[in-house]
């Protein structure tokens, strides 16, 4: 589904057109459900969150243009944020839960590498320019919702050191991405 197709479907969904919403679901649910599954690593929870995601998409379709995101990024961001919210609530309910096992190998296999477009390669290359731990911290924050406190504990550094690290990494990453 192209950028323009998605924009049209979101616009029609914002007008309350159920068939457009159905087409949007058909074209994007495998991607968004995949994200929910990856973040939550639990099928039942991923289903509940995916349901919540599409309810949000229907209700907020008229706000799609507010932040100037591309349509796919808007959808991905809703899915990621909703899944992370759920994951954080789960962690609060189960203090001490070790989530290390829930993170699949962050390095994509050769097949995934082969099908990735230029953009992904760009991000991967820029993450590769960072110290491995710092790139891992960015991945963990995005894909597992780890907080500064989580990351500081994981990398065994003081909280403020973790903040400084990550902020520097973000600047370095941005500098590379806009190069």
């Amino acid at each position: 589904m192209t950028h323009d197709d998605l924009e049209q479907l979101i616009a029609r969904t914002a007008m309350g057109e159920r068939s457009a919403f159905g087409d949007l679901y058909a074209g994007t649910s495998a991607k968004l459900f995949g994200i929910c599954l990856r973040v939550l690593d639990d099928r039942a929870e991923a289903e509940e969150v995916a349901q919540e995601v599409y309810v949000k998409i229907w209700r907020h379709a008229d706000r799609y243009r507010v932040n100037g995101l591309s349509p796919m990024t808007w959808l991905i961001t809703i899915a990621r944020n909703t899944a992370i919210d759920r994951l954080r609530r789960r962690r609060e309910a189960q203090p001490g839960l070790d989530v290390a096992e829930t993170l699949a190998d962050p390095a994509p296999g050769p097949e995934a590498m082969a099908v990735q477009g230029g953009e992904r390669a760009h991000l991967a290359a820029c993450l590769g320019e960072l110290n491995a731990n710092r790139a891992e911290a960015v991945r963990r924050a995005y894909l597992l919702g780890e907080t500064y406190a989580d990351l500081a504990a994981r990398f065994d550094v003081p909280l403020n050191t973790m903040r400084t690290w990550l902020r520097r990494s973000l600047l370095q990453l941005k500098e590379c991405l806009t190069r």
Partner: protein
Amino acid sequence: MTGQPPYDEDADRVLAGEYALGLLSPEDAALFEARMQRLPHVRALYAAWAEDLARLTDDIPEAAPPAELKPRIDADLFGAAPTPRRPFAGWRGFGWLVGGAVAAALALLLAVNTGLLDPQGGAPEQAAATIAAEDGSLVLLARYDAAAGRLLVERQTGTAPAGRVLELWLIAGDNAPVSLGVLPPEGAAQVPIGADLGAQMPGGLLAVSEEPPGGSPTGAPTGAVLASGVISPV
């Protein structure tokens, strides 16, 4: 030197990245959102991060959601009934099973039950339910006698699918279904109802699912729900 320090775009760029990653405290996130609303260039910094970070999902394999997810979303948004004969995919509350219309009727019934129709208070001594499939292919009549502590279930029409049995469930409010036992292949059944369950009967829902011989192996419905009906006072 007087005046404001030069605008520090790097600071905003970092803040936008932290916001996109969800690393800000709730207070700082709210402040950042307020600035985004006011300042287009701050919005643009956030949007750039959102685009870049979304690429981290590129190597996540796609996964088709189960077929029943879309009907559930539609039911949530539009109040449409989920597809009939939907298997129980874990217990998800009342509305999913009975659909909007019945849920509304039930809410009304519960409201009525808690006051207007029962001015003396206390549960009615007699209650009844028609447990029916949407297409009428399976119909059972149930009558609850509180004094006798017993539920009488009579089959009007319909049978279990070949090789399966019918199991009766009581669903009270948002509670998980409680098995009332496997129904005989034909005719009537008497189910003893203790005081605990009896208290949940008025306004509850009786449902029949199809299960393997001997009934659900898990204690929760595992097969399709074939018929259901609300228990109302007689």
